[in-house]
Amino acid sequence: MAVVVNRKALTFWEKLYLPAIIGGLKVTLKHAYNTLILRKVVTMEYPEQKWTLPTGYRGAPYLVKDQDGDTKCVSCQLCEFVCPPKAIRITPPGDTGLKADRTNAEKMPAEFEINMLRCIFCGFCQEVCPEEAIFLQQDYSLTALSRGEMIYNKEKLLSLGGVSPGIQKWKHKLEEAQAQENFPVKL
């Protein structure tokens, strides 16, 4: 059904375009005054100024060390299997390979590579990791001069990752499970 909208005819004053011109002048002058004199600029000048990232921000995944500075990763390869874009590649130590740094682990990876060009920052690796060895951290601006440099190896991932925030994994898992149970579900 056609709806007829009655448009108000412009008055003579409005037909001269003068109110519109004066309004435009006022608005633009106000904004120019705000930016030039009061320095109210909406632009964030990026490399110098940066966002404050929210907690739980999913940046680049890095390997973390435990409180003794040892590798936490035990080379179980769960993250490699769960990784949707297949960005992670783990080379296990094999029979004759390196022993783990820490005492209560059998092994650690001979090599651990994350291709940051493939990574989609989904966080599945962090979720699946039974040892809490990999965390998505606050880094979002990863740059390099070649594709090769964007494949981060174990050494680089460990040095970027730092020391783990959580080191008692089974306690954490329990707390997480309880939190899920008690989560208020809206029906």
């Binding site: 633009t28 930016t35 600029v41 632009t43």
Partner: protein
């Protein structure tokens, strides 16, 4: 053959074109900066050649101001790939930018940008038909745009070209009509004489305000600036007549637009705001010393730059007119208004004589 005349003319041409190019370069920067300020942004503030950061205070300041941005822009235009799309009409495609730029450059020939320095008049060609020359040359500018639209052999540029021809021809008429009262009052077509008359009687803006308003609006339309930028109309025509152009050819269209702005501003200053004169400090008489001559050139430039800023400012203030509104404004508002203005001025002059 008078060698003196030839040499001085060449020097004046070189300087005038150089200055206009400089103004064009920096008005692009001004465009970006002013748009930024109006839209609460910062604008270009990074570009600088490497040595600038060693200059203590001035270097960072100029960088913040974007002072070196035009150099980078120019370099970008030069080194970009000059792409010729398949299916364009080659000859016209190459010709169109030149046909657009040349009239834009030629207009400044008759504009007196200063009184005199020594025995030299500060105008390249002191024509007795200065205004007619300007209108003749300005209306040639439309050919380049139409040609560009036609040569590109693509729909959007074609629309742009057609719109521009209709628009420029329409507004040319009201523009020409709006200047007639000025000519009636002064009784002379020579731009230098018009300025002389204004130094004796006061600026013509006071005598013919309506003429000035029509002239200004028409020159917005002539230079394809918002609110009359229908030939370009990024949002509907993807850039209009220069859609298919790239690199230096595109830069030439850009240059032509800003040169047209410069010459329109210069015409407005000359016709309505007393050209190089100021009513005090003895600046309203032709200069006797070199310093006064230079001061008058700067007075002219300052007035002109004011209008350039108005051009830029208006662009970020108003939305674009619809095509029918544009035609309506040109033919049914400004043309009758200009005619009535002529009549009133003529009657007034007749009663006074």
């Amino acid at each position: 053959m008078n060698w003196n005349f030839i040499i001085f003319s060449l020097v004046k041409i070189a300087i005038a074109i150089g200055v206009v190019q400089g103004i064009v370069m920096y008005s692009v920067l001004a465009e970006r900066k002013i748009s930024a300020w109006i839209q609460d942004r910062v604008g270009p503030n990074r570009t600088a050649p490497p040595f600038v950061k060693f200059i203590p205070v001035l270097g960072p300041f100029l960088t913040r101001l974007g002072f070196f941005q035009p150099l980078a822009d120019g370099l970008k235009f030069l080194v970009k790939e000059d792409f010729t799309p398949a299916g364009v009409k080659q000859i016209y495609f190459w010709l169109a930018p030149a046909v657009t730029v040349i009239p834009a450059m030629l207009t400044i020939a008759v504009i007196p940008f200063g009184s005199q320095m020594g025995a030299q008049k500060m105008v390249i060609a002191d024509l007795n038909v200065g205004i007619l020359y300007t209108f003749g040359i300005v209306s040639m500018g439309v050919y380049g745009i139409v040609l560009a639209g036609y040569a590109a052999n693509s729909k959007y540029p074609f629309f742009g070209g057609i719109r521009s021809s209709a628009q420029m021809i329409s507004y040319e008429i009201s523009m020409g009509m709006s200047v007639i009262p000025v000519l009636l009052i002064v009784g002379n077509l020579n731009l230098s004489q018009i300025i002389n008359w204004q130094s004796g009687h006061g600026w013509l803006f006071l005598y013919a305000p309506l003429s000035f308003i029509i002239f200004m609006v028409a020159s917005f339309a002539e230079t394809n600036r918002t609110p009359f930028d229908l030939p370009e109309a990024e949002t509907e025509l993807v850039g209009g007549y220069h859609t298919e152009y790239s690199s230096m050819k595109f830069a030439l269209f850009f240059l032509a637009e800003y040169s047209n702005m410069v010459s329109s501003s210069a015409m407005m200053v000359t016709l309505f705001f007393g050209g190089w004169t100021l009513p005090f400090w003895g600046l309203d008489q032709p200069a006797h010393s070199l310093a006064m001559g230079i001061a008058q050139i700067f007075v002219f430039l300052a007035k002109m730059l004011f209008f350039m800023v108005v051009f830029i400012w208006v662009r970020w203030m108003f939305p674009r007119f619809r095509y029918d509104q544009l035609m309506d404004l040109g033919w049914r508002r400004f043309l009758p208004l200009a005619l009535v203005n002529i009549l009133i001025t003529a009657v007034w002059l007749w009663l006074r004589s």
